[in-house]
């Protein structure tokens, strides 16, 4: 019996050792604030900081189900807020939603902590945001990809069809098999608008191309994206445009595997320049959506005392909010010229890109 007790004590001792070692070894900043907090449970460093600086605000953000590391939509929103912190010293924080049920409590968490502004990132926030904004008329909110008609909400939408038209042109001119794929997340307006523009772009330069489409129904499931891509590539598709958040990572994954096996396949990324994440070997180009810039703009405006509650904006090619990245090593000069041509037509208004899939 004594032996057993001794063994147990030594395990506890070992735990304690590991525990203290970790505490000291990792970032010293955190270690220090950790001891502070444990000494006085109520103390939290944040409010003091903001009080000292005066004009610094607290801005929160709630992701949709894709999560903050989805390498596209939510991540670029968070990068926008991180930039706000870097430039203005304002405090920013995010919460992830695991499902529909979490969205409302997450938004309310920021409200009850007296955040100056709270972002809901994505179309799926429409209902939750509408309710929370109505119940808290004194709080400020921002929503991306949806419109909430309330005096305390700024709605930011993107003319994604315009940018998608341009990558459609690239796809239509690049494909060798004349088979092109579209992999979407959920079949909701903020995604189908990409498909509509993309289809129009492909048809404009390559009327014979066949476009196959697959909506996986999920933004956070790379395995579904990989399976969808595999089916398309097997079918002879050589360019896939993915608009599926985290699910789209699976499309890249499949393309990388096939590229290594010698197959000539491409992916067109979405929201961010995804060649940075997945490499130029498979990323033909990306359809950028200026979520980062939009969030940064509205948030810094608020910090500088400018707030236009109730406003709903649609940002497009002419605002530079959608389009291709600056560097496109995989696109030839000729194609780029064509893209530029169409871009000017869209900006001037002589070409109107459809927003709905026919």
């Amino acid at each position: 019996m004594k032996k057993r007790l001794g063994f147990m004590l030594s395990i506890v001792l070992m735990f304690a050792l590991v525990l203290s070692a970790c505490g000291g070894g990792s970032k010293t900043n955190n270690g220090a604030s950790g001891t502070n907090a444990s000494a006085s449970p109520e103390a939290s460093a944040a409010p003091e900081e903001s009080a000292a600086a005066g004009a610094k605000l607290k801005i929160g953000m709630v992701t949709d189900v894709g999560g903050v590391n989805d390498k596209s939509f939510n991540q670029s929103a968070w990068e926008g807020l991180q930039k706000v912190t870097k430039d203005t010293g304002s405090e920013t924080k995010y919460l992830e939603s695991k499902g529909d049920a979490d969205m409302e409590p997450n938004l309310r968490a920021f409200v009850s902590e007296k955040y100056d502004m709270t972002w809901g990132v994505g179309f799926l926030f429409q209902d939750a945001m509408g309710k929370v904004a109505k119940d808290n008329p004194d709080s400020k909110f921002g929503i991306i990809d949806s419109a909430v008609d309330a005096p305390n909400v700024v709605s930011v939408n993107f003319a994604a069809n315009e940018g998608s038209f341009l990558v459609g042109v690239v796809a239509g001119l690049t494909t060798k098999s004349n088979k092109i794929g579209f992999v979407g997340g959920m079949e909701i307006p903020s995604v189908t608008v990409f498909e509509a523009g993309f289809n129009a772009g492909v048809k404009a330069v390559n009327p014979d191309a066949k476009i196959s489409r697959n909506y996986t129904g999920e933004f956070g499931k790379p395995d579904l994206g990989k399976a969808a891509a595999a089916v398309m590539y097997n079918d002879g598709v050589d360019v896939i445009f993915q608009v599926a958040g985290g699910t789209g990572n699976g499309v890249f994954n499949e393309a990388t595997a096939r590229k290594k096996a010698g197959q000539d396949v491409w992916v067109i990324g979405v929201d961010k320049d995804q060649s940075i994440e997945f490499g130029n070997e498979v990323t033909l180009t990306s359809m950028l959506k200026g979520v980062e810039a939009a969030i940064y703009q509205v948030s810094t405006d608020l910090i500088n005392g400018k707030w236009e509650g109730g406003k709903s904006v649609v940002l497009g090619l002419k605002d530079g909010a959608v389009g291709l990245p600056e560097n496109n090593p995989n696109i030839s000069e000729d194609i780029m010229k064509k893209v530029e041509e169409y871009k000017q037509q869209i900006i001037s208004g002589s070409l109107v890109v459809p927003t709905e899939v026919k």
Binding site: M1, L5, L19, S26, A37, V68, L95, A101, N106, S112
Partner: protein
């Protein structure tokens, strides 16, 4: 009186309290180590967790909202376990319950005192019949209920999605039209009192359900039969119990509970039904709840509170202490791991218990 005391003694002896308690402490310690390794402050994190649960009326209400479906699914799994059946298809029965309630809630136009009860009953029956299908296959053809019920989960998921997409989808959305007011079971005054937390009558019914679970199994002749089949089907058969009928009946009742969980998610929480790419997970969490609670009514209640509370409060950890969600899941996982593994915990507390026993022996 003696009988009550006997039951109480059996349920609440020293180890039955000590083991879960030590398990929770060990889990919290393990989680703390993980957080320290990641450079976060565990004490602040645990404070934030508690604050998220009890900090405001809204959070308390929402925590109850998160616990409610687990009460139902936990009861469903535990009920089937008592009859020797592993109902892993709670997820599918949950979906069917949701869909049944949605269909009634959208299509019919009735006064509230008929509409809501009808939607609840139809939803529950959908769940029950879905489960009875599994029971029937097992009873008649000997199909293993684990296989058939888990496969039926997917059938239920896609059937529900199909029904919503084909008949009830709101334009340009991934969800159904809103359910009519008369079918909703939210408690308006309580929601207002709790700062708009989504309170609904399902919580009350879930608690009653746990009572029903106890009464059916331990206070009726049928319940005795159900448990007898669970203990030993052969002996039950020899005693003249119709084993096949009992299996179907048990699955049906289990499915009723699972269906009710889904019913109250649509009628009480959302007021619409979303098309899902994957099951929600309340059904699988229900298995964990039932196992944590040792398939007893009180155990299911406590297990659901723990499980639901942790999963709702975990958002507080990322909010208050900046712990990333991935790490929060490790912490929650380690707590549940220790609670589920009685053996490890008993090994840890044995020296103390043993020493006490030794002393008692000496005293005698």
């Amino acid at each position: 009186m003696d009988k009550v005391k006997g039951i109480a003694d059996k349920t609440f002896n020293k180890t039955s309290f000590l083991v879960p308690l030590v398990a929770i402490i060990l889990g919290l310690l393990c989680g703390a180590i993980a957080m320290l390794a990641g450079g976060f402050d565990p004490i602040l994190a645990y404070q934030s967790l508690l604050k998220k649960l009890f900090g405001s009326p809204y959070d308390m209400g929402e925590a109850i909202r998160a616990i409610t479906p687990l009460l139902f699914t936990g009861t469903a799994v535990a009920f089937a376990f008592r009859t020797g059946l592993f109902n892993i298809g709670v997820e599918g029965q949950f979906m069917m319950g949701m869909t049944g309630a949605t269909v009634i809630g959208i299509t019919l136009d009735l006064p509230w005192y008929l509409h809501a009860p009808l939607a609840i009953i139809v939803g529950a029956l959908c769940g029950g019949l879905w489960a009875a299908l599994t029971g029937y296959l097992k009873a008649v053809r000997g199909v293993n209920e684990v296989i058939s019920s888990i496969m039926l989960n997917w059938v239920a998921l896609y059937l529900s999605n199909y029904i919503i997409r084909a008949f009830f989808v709101a334009k340009g959305q991934q969800k159904s039209d809103p359910i009519q007011e008369s079918a909703l079971v939210s408690i308006g005054w309580l929601s207002d009192a709790m700062d708009h937390a989504r309170m609904h009558w399902g919580t009350v019914i879930a608690l009653l359900g746990i009572g029903v679970f106890y009464i059916i199994l331990w206070r009726t002749k049928q319940g005795y039969e159900l448990r007898a089949v669970g203990q030993s089907p052969d002996a039950a058969l020899y005693a003249g119990i119709n084993v096949n009928r009992t299996i179907v009946k048990s699955m049906f009742i289990s499915g009723l509970f699972a269906g009710l969980a889904g019913v109250f998610e649509t009628l009480g929480v959302f007021g619409y039904q979303t098309m899902l790419a994957a099951p929600w997970g309340y059904g699988f969490d229900g298995i964990a709840v039932a196992l944590l609670g040792g398939n007893t009514p009180i155990g299911v209640l406590l297990g659901a509170i723990l499980f639901g509370g942790l999963s709702y409060g975990s958002a507080g950890m990322s909010f208050g202490a900046g712990v990333p969600p991935e790490l929060v899941r490790i912490v929650i996982g380690s707590i549940i791991f220790f609670i589920a593994s009685h053996g490890i915990v008993k090994f840890f507390i044995k020296p103390f218990l043993g020493r006490r026993a030794d002393k008692r022996k000496e005293a005698i």
